[in-house]
Amino acid sequence: MLTAVAGYINFWLIAILLLVGVYGIIATENLLKKLMALNVISVAIILFYLNLGQKAGSTVPILLPGAEVGVVNAYANPLPHTLMLTAIVVGVATTGVGLAMLYKIYHRYGSLEEPDVLKEMRQ
């Protein structure tokens, strides 16, 4: 029982973080807060991938001086680290595009609250 909890509690916490983000998208009416909730979801997914790359007793995927090369279990899986490194930078850049769009929405409709924007659009 305890080993099962220890093996899976990371996934449950990450699921809770992802659901916090989904709730933020559904429940808030401010578009800026929706963008922040999207970023929370992106962080949850990055943590999920990094969690899959861990091994018991492993270290960072950089060859230690003097270490034997062939020991696979001594190093963490380098592939999730690589993919998430690029995902973080791309996430920042796409958040910039989202903020630019919000800037333009605010100029056009005078508000970032979703009901106000919808009301202005229907007129």
Binding site: A4, A6, G7, Y8, N10, F11, W12, A15, I16, L18, L19, V22, Y23, I26, A27, N51, L52, G53, Q54, K55, A56, P61, I62, L63, V69, G70, V72, N73, Y75, N77, P78, L79, P80, H81, T82, L85, T86, V89, V90, A93, T94, G96, V97, A100, M101, Y103, K104, H107
Partner: protein
């Protein structure tokens, strides 16, 4: 609306916990992500690419095409930001000057 969302999310949380038992447990040495290509990266990265840091070796050499795509995405994001915001400024200037 918020109550419906909460109930739906609770159902989703139950589904996540139920399906999480099909994933490999954390720190598992023989999990599928650690078994397929990553042993090859760890064993051969220094020999084949000359990089001690395996993350750099995978990022720039084994998966260089992937990184080219990511760089293009970042560059495109910057350009689209420029187009979205600068177009507005130019329109305003034209309106002020033209009429």
């Amino acid at each position: 609306m918020k109550k419906v969302a909460l109930i739906l999310l609770l159902l989703l949380a139950g589904l996540f916990i139920y399906t999480s038992f099909d994933l490999p447990p954390t720190n598992d040495l023989n999990s599928p992500p650690a078994a397929h290509v990553s042993p090859r990266y760890i064993e051969m990265a220094h020999e084949e690419t000359g990089a001690v840091n395996m993350v750099t070796a995978v990022l720039a050499d084994y998966r260089g095409y992937d990184t080219l795509g990511e760089t293009t995405v970042i560059f495109t994001a910057g350009i689209s930001c420029l187009l979205i915001l600068e177009a507005r400024r130019k329109q305003k200037r034209n309106k002020r000057g033209g009429r």
